[in-house]
C-alpha cells in the first residue's frame, strides 16, 4: 500500500470514530503515528517543506509527543503561490481567509480527498452539538457568499460546511444598490413564521449577525419567535470588541431577537488553515478538540507547551489535510487549555478557551522601519 493510501485509511478510521469519545492517551498515540506519517509524506512531496523539517532542532522521527513535531507558523499560508503537496491539476478548490483591509489572506489548496475529509470532519463535529437531523438552514449572509466557486473565502467555506444539515437554504441578507449587505426583512420574517415550530439551523459571521441582523431588528423592536433555532457563529470578536459588545451581551441579544434560549447560540473557533476542524463551545463555555485533531498552547517566551490554565499561543493540529502541509499550525491567537480530559459536558479529550489575537508588539524601537525605499 502506498504511503498516501496508508494515511488515508488511518484518517478515515479516526473520522469514523465518534468525535469526543477517545481516551486522551489513545488519541495522542494514534495522532502521533499518523502525523509522523503525514510529515514524511509531505517531505517527499515538497522539497521546500522538507528543507524546513530537516532543519528543525528535533528529528521528528524520534519525537515522542505531538508537541515536539515541527509546526508551521500560520503566516506561511499567506505565500503566493500557496504551499501545496499536490500539483495544480489536482487542486479542486482554494480556500482563503477573511483578511481585513490591507492584510494578505491565507490561502490553502484542497484536492478532492482533502475536501471530502473537510466536509466529513465538520459534519462529525457539528452533529455532536446539534444532532444528525436535517433541517431548514438560515444563512445570515448574502446569496453571493453561498455560491461555490473555484476560490472560496472563509465565510463561504463556513456556510458550505453546514449545508449537509440543510433541507433547504435561505439567505436573509441581500446587497443594496450601493453593494453593501443589508437585511432582507420580509424574507426573514416569512421564514420565521414558516419555521416557528421547526428545528432550524442558522449560521453567520459573528459581526455580520450583530450588524446586519440583531441591530436592525432591535431598532425595529422585532422578535423572530424561533424557539427551536440553533445559531452557530464564528469569525472573531475584534470588530465587536471595538463596539464594546461582549460575548455575554452578544449571546443575550441574539437569543432575545430570535426568541430562543441563550444555550442555542453557539460560538465556534476555526480557521481555513485548519480545514475540517472547528471548535464549538460546549454548555460550559469550553471548546472541544475532536478525535482527529489536537490543540497545544505554547509559552510565547519559550515556545514550550504550557500547563492547563496558562495562557499562550494556540497551535492547532489536524490529520485531515493531505493537499497542503496544514497538520501542525502555530496560530497568532492566544488561549488556554482548560483540561486534557473530563469536561463536565461529557466530551472527552482536550478542551480550551480562546482569548483573542496576540496583541501587536507595543515597543517597536528605533530599529523598526515600516517602510523603506527598497520596497
Amino acid at each position: 500500500m502506498s504511503a498516501l493510501a496508508d494515511i488515508e485509511q488511518s484518517v478515515e478510521t479516526l473520522l469514523a470514530t465518534s468525535a469526543y469519545t477517545l481516551a486522551p492517551g489513545e488519541r495522542h498515540a494514534a495522532l502521533l503515528v499518523l502525523l509522523k506519517q503525514e510529515l514524511a509524506y509531505a517531505c517527499d512531496r515538497n522539497p521546500r517543506f522538507r528543507n524546513y523539517v530537516e532543519q528543525w532542532p528535533v528529528d521528528f522521527h524520534t519525537a515522542d509527543t505531538i508537541a515536539a513535531l515541527p509546526y508551521l507558523p500560520v503566516g506561511v499560508f499567506k505565500a503566493n503561490p500557496p504551499l501545496a503537496l499536490v500539483g495544480a491539476d489536482e487542486v479542486k478548490r482554494t480556500l482563503s481567509s477573511s483578511a481585513t483591509t490591507g492584510q494578505v489572506p491565507s490561502r490553502v489548496v484542497l484536492d478532492a480527498a482533502t475536501a471530502r475529509r473537510m466536509t466529513k470532519g465538520i459534519i462529525t463535529i457539528i452533529r455532536n452539538f446539534i444532532g444528525p437531523t436535517r433541517r431548514p438552514y438560515l444563512v445570515i449572509d448574502t446569496a453571493e457568499n453561498v455560491a461555490a466557486q473555484g476560490e472560496m473565502g472563509a465565510r463561504g467555506a463556513a456556510i458550505q460546511g453546514l449545508r449537509s444539515f440543510a433541507t433547504e437554504v435561505v439567505c436573509c441578507l441581500r446587497r443594496n444598490p450601493e453593494g453593501d449587505s443589508c437585511l432582507d426583512r420580509e424574507k426573514l420574517l416569512a421564514c420565521a413564521a414558516k419555521w416557528r415550530h421547526t428545528e432550524v439551523l442558522a449560521y453567520g459571521f459573528t459581526y455580520v449577525i450583530w450588524t446586519d441582523l440583531v441591530q436592525p431588528l432591535q431598532r425595529q423592536g422585532i422578535t423572530l419567535e424561533m424557539p427551536n433555532v440553533r445559531i452557530l457563529h464564528s469569525g472573531g470578536w475584534k470588530r465587536l470588541e471595538q463596539q464594546a459588545v461582549t460575548k455575554d451581551v452578544f449571546v443575550r441579544d441574539v437569543a432575545a431577537v430570535f426568541g430562543c434560549s441563550a444555550d442555542r447560540v453557539i460560538d465556534y473557533y476555526g480557521m481555513v488553515e485548519n480545514v475540517g476542524v472547528i471548535y464549538p463551545d460546549c454548555e460550559y463555555g469550553n471548546k472541544h478538540v475532536p478525535a482527529f485533531a489536537e490543540v497545544i498552547v505554547r509559552n510565547p517566551r519559550t515556545l514550550a507547551p504550557v500547563e492547563a490554565g496558562v495562557e499562550g499561543l494556540i497551535q492547532v493540529c489536524s490529520v485531515l489535510p493531505t493537499s497542503f502541509p496544514g497538520f501542525l499550525v502555530l496560530t497568532e491567537d492566544m488561549g488556554e487549555i482548560v483540561d486534557y480530559d473530563g469536561c463536565l459536558c461529557g466530551r472527552r479529550g482536550t478542551s480550551f478557551r480562546f482569548a483573542g489575537r496576540a496583541p501587536k508588539a507595543e515597543v517597536r524601537g528605533c530599529g523598526n522601519l515600516e517602510t523603506t525605499r527598497y520596497q
Binding site: 528535533v58 519559550t302 496583541p359 528605533c366 530599529g367 527598497y374
Partner: protein, 418 residues
Amino acid sequence: MSGLIEAVDSPESLARAAGQLRATVQEKEIDPQTTLTLFEQWASALDDRALGETPGVTFLRLWLRRGTLEPVLLRELGPHSLNGGWREDGRARLRAFPLGVIGHWPAGNIEIQPILSLTCGLLGGNACLVRVPGDLVEISSRIMEKLQDVDRTGLLTERISMVSFDHSRADLHQAMAQGVDGAMIWGGAEAVSQVRGLSFPHWARVVVFGPRLSVAAIDAGVWGDRTEGPGWCRRIARDVWQFDQQACSSPQALFIERAAGCDPNEFVEDLRRAFEEENRAHPPRQMQPALTSAICLARASWLLDDIANRAWFPKSPDWTILLGSGADIPKPTQGRTLSVLQVDDLFEVIRRFDGTVQTLGLGIKDACREETLAQAAGRHGVDRVVRLGQMHVFGSPWDGVDLIRPMVRLVRHVRSQN
C-alpha cells in the same frame, strides 16, 4: 524637578511645566563646566549595585564622564565652548546660547534613552521636557534619583521636567510640542511620523534620530580565519544581543564575502556557538507573542522560500541564524534573528544602500580596502562605520547629526563701538 516623573493628564499641566522651564532657562545660565562636574558626580553615584543589572547603566556612566563629553563639546561647539564665553570671529564675536525648552520623545526600546537624550539638551544649556515611555518610568526614576542626590541645589534638576502619558494621547503630545523650542525625537517609523507631524512653533528646531537599520559585513580574510573567526563571532553576537536587536544600531543582517577555500558552514558553526554562549549569559527576559510569531515566521519562510537556504535555531524563539545568499537586506525580524548572506563582493551590498542604513559594522582584514568600503558606505547614506562589537557605542555625531549643536543658537554680536 519635583516628583521625578509626573503622570500628566491635561494639556494645561504640560503648558505650565514648559512655562516654568522657559522662565528658568531665560533667567539663569548654567556654564558647561558646572554641568560637566555634576554629570561626573552623577556618573559616580550610578556606580550602585542596585542599578548594576539595568541595561545601559554601565554605558551611561561612561557617557557622563568629563573625558567623554569634553571632546564632544569641543568638536561640536568649538574651542571656547567649555568656558561658555564669547569667542572672537573677525569683527564680531560669537557665543552659543540654548534654544530654550527642548522636548524629548525617546523610543521605548532603549532603557537609558530618555536620560541620554536629556543630557544632550542640558549640555547646550537648555531646559528639558521629557516624555518618558510607560515601560521606562521606573528605571528612569531610579537613574534620576541619583542626579537629585548629587545636584543638591537643583542647578540641573530645576531645568528638567519628566512626564509620562499614554502614547495615544494626541492632545498631550500636541501640548508638549507647542511648549518647546526644539525637539529631539527618537524611535520607530510609526512613533517618529506621529511626533514629527505635530504642530511645533515655527521657530522650533526638530531633530529626528531613527528609524534606521544597521548591518554588518566581513570579508573572507576575517571570517575564513579559523583562529580569529570565533572572536569576531562573539563580537557580532554582542552587537545582536544588546537592546534585543531593536535599536537602530542593531545588525539585522551580516554579509560575508565569498572566497575560495573558505567554508561558510564552519563560520556559521562558530557563530552558533557564540549565539548560544551569549544567550546563556543574557537570555531574553520576556518576549511579546507577536515577536515570537514573527520569529517563527522568519524561520519558516526562509527555509520554505529556497531549498538552498539554511537555518540554525533552538526550540525556543531565543535566537536564529538564517544562512543564504544575496546582496539585499532582508526585512528585519528583530528578536535576535540574524540573516547571514553570502556575496561575491561587499561593494555589491553597499551599492544598494539608499539611506536607511545607519551603522555598518565591519570586520575587514585589509585597512586600505576598509577605507574604500567606508568611503562607499558614506556615499550611500551610512552615518556610522565602526568595528564589529562596537555598533552600539553612542557618540556624536549620531545618525550623521551632532547631538548638542542642533539645540543651541550661535549668537553673533557686532559691537556698536569700535
